[in-house]
Chain length 412, copies 2
Amino acid sequence: MHKIGIVGAGIAGLHLALYLQQRGVDATIITDRTPEELAKGRLLNTVAHHHTTLAREEALGVNHWPDPNQHYYYHDHWLNIPGSPLNFSGRFSKPSRAVDYRIYLPALMEDFTDRGGVIEYGRIEEDDIAALVDRFDLLVVSTGKGPLGAIFSHDPDESPFQQPQRRLSVGLYSGVRHTDPMNVTLSLSPGAGELIVIPTITFDGVGTALLMENVPGGPLEQTVTTKYDDGPAAFRQTVLEGLEQYHPAVYDRIDTTRFDLCQPNDLLQGGLVPTVRKTSVEFDNGKFAIALGDVHVTVDPVNGQGANIASYAAFVMGEEIMKAPSLDRRFVEHVDMARNDRCLGAARWSNLMMAPPSEEMQMLLGAMSQNKALCDEFTENFNWPERQWDNLSSPTRIRSWIERSAPARAAE
Amino acid sequence: MHKIGIVGAGIAGLHLALYLQQRGVDATIITDRTPEELAKGRLLNTVAHHHTTLAREEALGVNHWPDPNQHYYYHDHWLNIPGSPLNFSGRFSKPSRAVDYRIYLPALMEDFTDRGGVIEYGRIEEDDIAALVDRFDLLVVSTGKGPLGAIFSHDPDESPFQQPQRRLSVGLYSGVRHTDPMNVTLSLSPGAGELIVIPTITFDGVGTALLMENVPGGPLEQTVTTKYDDGPAAFRQTVLEGLEQYHPAVYDRIDTTRFDLCQPNDLLQGGLVPTVRKTSVEFDNGKFAIALGDVHVTVDPVNGQGANIASYAAFVMGEEIMKAPSLDRRFVEHVDMARNDRCLGAARWSNLMMAPPSEEMQMLLGAMSQNKALCDEFTENFNWPERQWDNLSSPTRIRSWIERSAPARAAE
């Protein structure tokens, strides 16, 4: 029986650990933060789980948030083109749902330990690696922190950027009206950036995540550089002024008298470099470490793909562990064959969104505003990023998708 | 509608052309040899089609050789270890069949043209390429001959050899008794090489292909260097003496008074370097050429994989052409994702057979001689080389396979 060491307790590590636990495989999680520390800590991210991920949670018996009133059902798009704004929506075949990870991760850690799983707490230092390699048949590395996160080299073919492409200001807010039924709102302002509004289950009911994806050097950068702790009123004012000017449809949903972070530590400001890394390292004794989740593929959050592909990859890896006679080079190859198209599809599509929209992307947005079926397909494909990439990977493919999707014209 | 140019009329090009023709796609074959030239020419190869390939022939409506008496049903293995020879056999789940390609290829070319397909005859020169790129939406290159065969660069990761690993003496012979039911006999003589005996449908009933895979510098090299045309009797004598000493079980089936090439041009002597090539080239105008069959993966014939993976890859490519909105980089990626595991599995497994057997491979041969189910699985996997590679890709995996396959021991 394989003995698996999983370093990191994010969604990737937890979904894999729970998957293996269900099947009686010896899996140990090693992480540096307890559930209590996570729950009390700063906002970790803003993450939506699409229905393919919810189905995996069902399979693991960890879907603790089944209330349909707390789910969201469609994407509402606002294209803030001066003079000719566009608004159109696309529906998912099944709802999505977002939970604050300070609730989500501790809940799954508790599920794992309640079922007899072992989580070891502590930081891994360089000197610890040899003993870990010795102890397990496979090291799954699902956190970029520490010396193990650094052993996977960049894949230059899939990593076009050296710098963050957006400056992120990400917070959980009160005072933003929910739609009925709830949606995720995607507000795009050329030159300023994107705003993704996500109804999110928090410690205090359903709040609102505002994920501001600001163009570096653009007019909304102050939402990243202004510190809440230096003066909450000034911070709120900066965000509100930015929203009013560049994301007016979202601003219209705000009760300015109640608008604030849910808690002072519900804010993240910064940026990340979208990066794909080589997936494995072979140690001298022939054992392997394999990357899972963000360590493998770090995407900009604009398309909400990171957690979903991490969960997908965790299941793929679990399946391959169950099948593999040996956790070796061929095992890694099987994992990569099974996960890479979706994971890389998500990365490439997210990278594409970082560039100013091509003529064809503009045509697509225009076509979606006129063609509900096309917009529904685009929306549903947040579950299937490899299919999105089939349609978006070249200008010719985008044109072809628009043409295929054109409704048959009625005789005039 | 895509317009496909297929350069080369081997099994890869023909199976793809027939597949596309069935689906109404415009596919043109370009080749330098007419059916009549092929039929009159020198032996092309010795090739067995396993049942997965026969199923594809059924699907194409080109299985013209359905007589079960002309098929073969199992592999018979002879391990000529001095002092302790081993003999054991493994059965296929469904029979295999070999046809002289001077019959096979012309028959399929006729099928294609009878059904309205166009075959253009002529050599392609460097100067012709631009016009071909212009004329078609995709160039499928399924012959290594000519300037198009040379545009695909080596894949060094999958091409470990710079030299042929065997010196081949390949002929169609009369005077070799068939077994009943027929089999393919694999005779291994450490230091001398392998002999594969294939009952083959010829112009004159079922003859016998002797595929001698001789170790360079080994005792059977003379079967490669002795020329039939310099003296048929001396050539026959050389072959017979070699068989008697190194492949005695096959020699025992020979009626030496009748033993001869079926026709003087039924002999090939030489060697090939197992090679994997990059699969595509993008031209300046954004169109692609994609490699199919031997041009993509050239395997040593020891495992009889080349034609079978070429046919498999042709079907994969056909399916992807039907699905692709654009025959571009993403199309190539889809083709490679779908075909590579099987094609590379065949290449790696064949390459493994070129090396002196490891301790584990010797254990496996011993285990197969004692365990019919294990030997049947090994034999059936000639249809599924990727599964063979799952079991053979490391010493640990070979041991694990032997252990998993060990019959449960009865209580003693």
